[in-house]
């Protein structure tokens, strides 16, 4: 039956296309997981009738009904905590928080509860909870809508934090996160939802926490995630024109970190640069650089450096906003400096 609501006319993504957009891949993963397991349900603001702020839950409300695709009041801490409670007794909830900025209101449920209940209960309970949240600097959304939360979530034992950036990874990693018995935070980037990319539903997935080498090179390792992978690839292209072959690694996961892949790369290139959208001070890049120094100091010809966001709240003005986050030019400039032999 067609509803008077326009969004109910949309179907979930079903085409096994060779190309998908990121939001379509996420939608496909949700649809397949819900079809396969009745314990899987979704809750969040405007995930149902509206179809999700970024269309990720499109069509699922009509297909699975209001109990499995639940529109919630604006009560982030309590509906995220609702997910924790349901996960304790057999549910496999997927909480969508409209943006990471609002997740600050749900940190009690995420950090005090989800991350700790297995440990505090002596292993009696598991918390198979997925919390999805889009974030990052988008287009002039100003300081309260442009944050990254990696720094906070990385420091919490008990959480897994993944950062898919491609349609294929979005499909694989969301599927794996739903199957995982631990709480998994899936950070999505607002500017990547409409990116198209190759997609193969039958391909053998990479493990949930594996890093991926996106471009091979011998001179320098660029380490990035989310939208910064594109920035790093653009910089690598420019560097290639200068005769420098940069290797680009997409981390895909921040907790745990696939350190062996980074070490292997650095043993070849002897130089590494972290490209990070988040503010530089105490960001994820600091942990990555420190871990790499500890694990591969002997292989490094220079300190691991960071190209990162400025330590400022994100400004509204478009020119200032762009100046507050890294671009390919900044990556190239720092790469050239690192690789210039010191006299």
């Amino acid at each position: 039956m067609r509803s008077r609501h326009a969004n109910l006319g949309h179907e979930p993504v079903t085409v096994r296309a060779r190309e998908l957009k990121v939001w379509e891949a996420l939608n496909l993963a949700l649809d397949e997981a819900m079809a396969a397991d009745e314990a899987v349900f979704i809750l969040g603001e405007d995930v149902g009738l509206y179809g999700g702020s970024y269309r990720v839950t499109q069509g699922l409300y009509a297909k699975y009904g209001e109990w499995r695709v639940r529109d919630t009041p604006i009560s982030e801490n309590s509906f995220t905590g609702l997910g924790v409670g349901a996960a304790l007794v057999g549910g496999r909830p997927i909480v969508e928080i409209m943006t990471v900025n609002f997740a600050l209101l749900a940190l009690d449920a995420i950090i005090n509860m989800a991350a700790k209940l297995r440990y505090m209960s002596g292993g009696q309970f598991t918390v198979p909870l997925v919390v999805r949240m889009p974030g990052g600097v988008a287009r002039q959304l100003a300081a309260q809508h442009s944050q990254r939360l990696e720094h906070t979530l990385l420091n919490v034992p008990g959480l897994r934090v993944v950062v898919p950036g491609t349609p294929q990874d979005s499909y694989w990693q969301l599927t794996q996160a739903i199957e995982c018995d631990d709480p998994v935070i899936v950070l999505e980037h607002e500017l990547l939802y409409n990116d198209s990319g190759p997609f193969d539903a039958e391909a053998e997935p990479l493990p949930l926490h594996a890093a991926a080498v996106r471009r091979e090179g011998r001179d320098l390792t660029l380490i990035a995630w989310h939208r910064m992978v594109g920035v790093a690839l653009e910089a690598a292209e420019t560097l290639a024109g200068e005769g420098i072959e940069a290797e680009v690694i997409d981390l895909r996961s921040l907790r745990p970190l696939d350190l062996p892949v980074l070490v292997k790369s650095v043993e070849k290139t002897h130089h590494a640069l972290v490209v990070e959208e988040d503010c530089r001070f105490a960001g994820a890049g600091a942990e990555i650089a420190a871990s790499l120094h500890e694990a591969a100091f002997g292989a490094l010809d220079a300190p691991v450096e960071r190209v990162a966001g400025l330590d400022v709240p994100t400004p509204y003005n478009g020119l200032l906003e762009q100046a507050s986050i890294p671009d390919a030019g900044a990556v190239v400039g720092t790469a050239l400096r690192i690789l210039t032999p010191r006299v």
Partner: protein
Amino acid sequence: MQRELARQFLYDMMLARQFEQAAADQYQQGNIAGFLHLYPGEEAVAVGSLRAADAGDYVVSTYREHVHAMVKGITPRAVMAELFGKATGCSGGYGGSMHLFDREKRFLGGYAIVGETFPVAIGVGYWLRMTGQNDVVYCFFGDGAANQGTFHESLNMAALWKLPVLFICENNHYQIGTEIHRHTAVPEIWRHTTPYGIPGKRVDGMDVAAVYDATRDALAFVRAGNGPMLLECDTYRYRGHSMADSGAYRSALEVQELMARDPVRTFRERALAEGWIRETEIADIEKQVQETVADAVQFAEQSPDPDDVRKDVYAEPFRLYGGSR
């Protein structure tokens, strides 16, 4: 009243009183560390409400939850061993006094951040309703928790979706050292449910039979699919908030007045007067309780410490090692 039920109430409350006194002693001796929140004065609430539960009902409780845990079926040994931080404790020594868990008994934990029991309980209620199960989830909270956002957020969602949650307020009149008239504009907590259309009721929390009767009625209402209900139990704690608190903000007179309504003594007197129990049976209970508590302490003392600090942070191992793709 059935004699058996009266005997059970008295046993539970006398055990609770004795157990908590032993916990205080063991804390003073250095065998229990951390924060220790004791229950004397409030026994009628846990005993009256949880003796009305079915085995399938879930409990989400606060950090003052030793007695809830024992009435729900966790043994005094397992609770005391947890207070000692031992491997034989109900949380393996990883949780402590504020974090008692038992999956089999459907005891979903003590939560030590005020206001956390609300979202956890509505999550359980959501799952029960979504899957068509007939169990109810108990959500315990104190008067101080009624001012957390999660209280109002969760009442709203529980009412909106008619979730099978029984909210039980243990109103002991103090959020640590701040008396209820100084922390809540409308100190009748049961009235806070009005804007959400949830029935709320106040009951004498020093009267175990009254709490039991009110809970049975409330459970019948909730189990019938009418949505949540809230019971406010008017009670009092004799000790400070925790062992670290002397309770100096209250007058000795106030404490004495409340002790005159002591739930254990008043019910014992009533049970004798009504002929529900005999003096000799009470003496037997007294002896049994002392032995049970002494056994729990001995068990905790003799139990081993847990030895794996990394255990159970995650349910599954990490799978790393990517590469070219």
